[in-house]
Amino acid sequence: MAEKITIGELHLSGCTGCLVTLADNYEGLFKLLDDYADLVYALTLVDVRHVPEMDVCLVEGSCCLDDKLSVEELKEARAKSKVLVAYGGCAAYGNITRFCRGGQWNQPGHASYVPISEVVDVDLFLPSCPPCPQAIRNVAVMAYLLLKGDDEQKKLATAYLTPLMQLAQRGNEACGCDLMYDVINQGLCIGCGTCAGTCPVRAITMEYGRPNINRDLCIKCGACYAQCPRSWFNFDVMNNYESIMNVIKGAME
């Protein structure tokens, strides 16, 4: 086994659901930590006070501009990590914190919450609220292959991670409305129902073969659009789904 990569989780304005999701891989988390990654920074899981150097930094939560420490730590994490991931809807898109206007306990003065890409450059988005355990597992395995693998593994990892990197370039506003703007209005929807099956708050129903979004329910997590087969579909990866799933399964055995 080649040397491990280092991963940290920077916790900003999030609910810790993303961090718990990492742990929801159960034995899979131990396998990741035994063979592929050292967890060098994370709330409650690692006793390290200051943002260290790391290969991959997962940032959970949006960034509160009214909290100097959050802004400083985020910038420090950017400076000290090779790959910075917006881990979860809040970091990527603001998610539920988009609705915040201050006045909440116990920091009523904190009122301005932005997706982390307003403050730093972000390499990769992993949307949803929370992202699924298997998604972060796959990204962790691919990050390992990217940084420590042989040429072929690097190629695979690059192809796999590319759409998530492109997603980070696309913008930091998400809503169920993206399905209307960028799929249906663009003449691309096929009525598959993936978006409705994906939404964590069941804001989407299928009405006569098209998603109907209950916009008051939508928390702006970005899962539906990212999961839609017509937001992106990269044949170079998907055509090899069987072997890639075996690679991931093999890595976790």
Partner: protein, 295 residues
């Protein structure tokens, strides 16, 4: 990838179960395979296009008995958003091994959900059998109504079977009438998303099937993945299908290849045309979004 996708074998086949053949669209491949997989414990349930309260309007459904499978057999030429139930099937229904049937694009959605399970918690290793049906294009329910009621002049509720083949859309009614319209005329009703679809024979399914290539009442079957192979071998051993080698049936694999090539060539042109669909102020083209390039 070849226009027919990767596959281990391609066979012409028909179910040996008469009850299934009576209800099925073609050779009853899908219903027979799910019934077998349920029986053998390969799946605990399947997501299919079940009946709804409107005639010919399918409703995605999680089923676990042969009777329910039979009620969902046959093709509805309109959208059935089956993927809306895959997380539901594993979480609300608590299935550990899910079967699912879908058009090529729906099978694509499943593979994306497995490789990038962004909002699809605990789904990836629970898809036990993904069966694909060939698909040239699909229609909204309202478009299907227009075709059946306006063009073919039949009431939706009086129709017993709809079929596409030999260049025609055919409607058979309960009382024995047969109405047809040329497929060419259907084009304006096709849902727009189908015009950029680059898969005809469900390349990413475990097993995929359609009528094209085989004689009436028979189906062409592609056995594609390791999983698909194991299920197919088991079903053959159990005597659930009559089979013929593809090179001994008419019109044969060449027909499948031709239709697949035609579809992909036409739709690839549509994808390319999106790049220059609009115009910028400086005279250069302005493009529409291409999902095969980036989100």
């Amino acid at each position: 990838m070849d226009v027919l996708g990767n596959y281990k074998s391609v066979i012409s086949a028909r179910s040996t179960d008469r009850d299934i053949l009576k209800k099925a669209q073609d050779g009853g491949i899908i219903t027979t395979l799910f019934a077998y997989a349920l029986e053998e414990g390969i799946i605990d349930g399947a997501v299919v296009a079940g009946p709804s309260d409107e005639p010919w309007r399918p409703k995605p459904m999680v089923v676990s008995t042969k009777a329910e499978l039979l009620a969902a057999a046959g093709t509805r030429y309109t959208i059935s958003p089956n993927i809306s139930l895959i997380k539901e099937a594993t979480r609300s229904y608590g299935l550990d091994r899910v079967g699912i049937v879908g058009t090529p694009c729906q099978i694509q959605a499943i593979r994306k959900a497995q490789l990038y399970p962004i909002g699809m918690r605990d789904v990836d290793d629970k898809i036990a059998l993904a069966l694909g049906i060939f698909c040239m294009e699909n229609l909204s329910y309202q478009a299907l109504e227009a075709i059946v009621e306006d063009h073919c002049n039949q009431k939706m509720e009086s129709v017993k079977k709809m079929d596409i083949g030999k260049g025609k859309f055919t409607v058979y009614t309960e009382r024995g009438a047969v109405s047809q319209m040329p497929l060419k005329l259907i084009h304006k009703y096709v849902q727009p998303g189908c015009n950029v679809c680059l898969d005809y024979v469900a390349n990413l399914a475990d097993i995929s099937s359609g009528s094209v290539g085989s004689p009436d009442g028979w189906s062409t079957v592609f056995v594609r993945s390791m999983k698909g192979n194991a299920v197919w071998d088991g079903a053959i051993e159990a005597g659930l299908f009559e089979t013929k080698p593809m090179d001994q049936v008419k019109p044969g694999l060449d027909m499948v290849k031709k239709l697949s090539t035609d579809k992909i060539t036409k739709n690839q042109k549509n994808v390319d045309a999106r790049k220059t669909a609009g115009l910028r102020a400086d005279g250069t083209p302005k493009g529409l979004r291409n999902p095969y390039e980036s989100p």
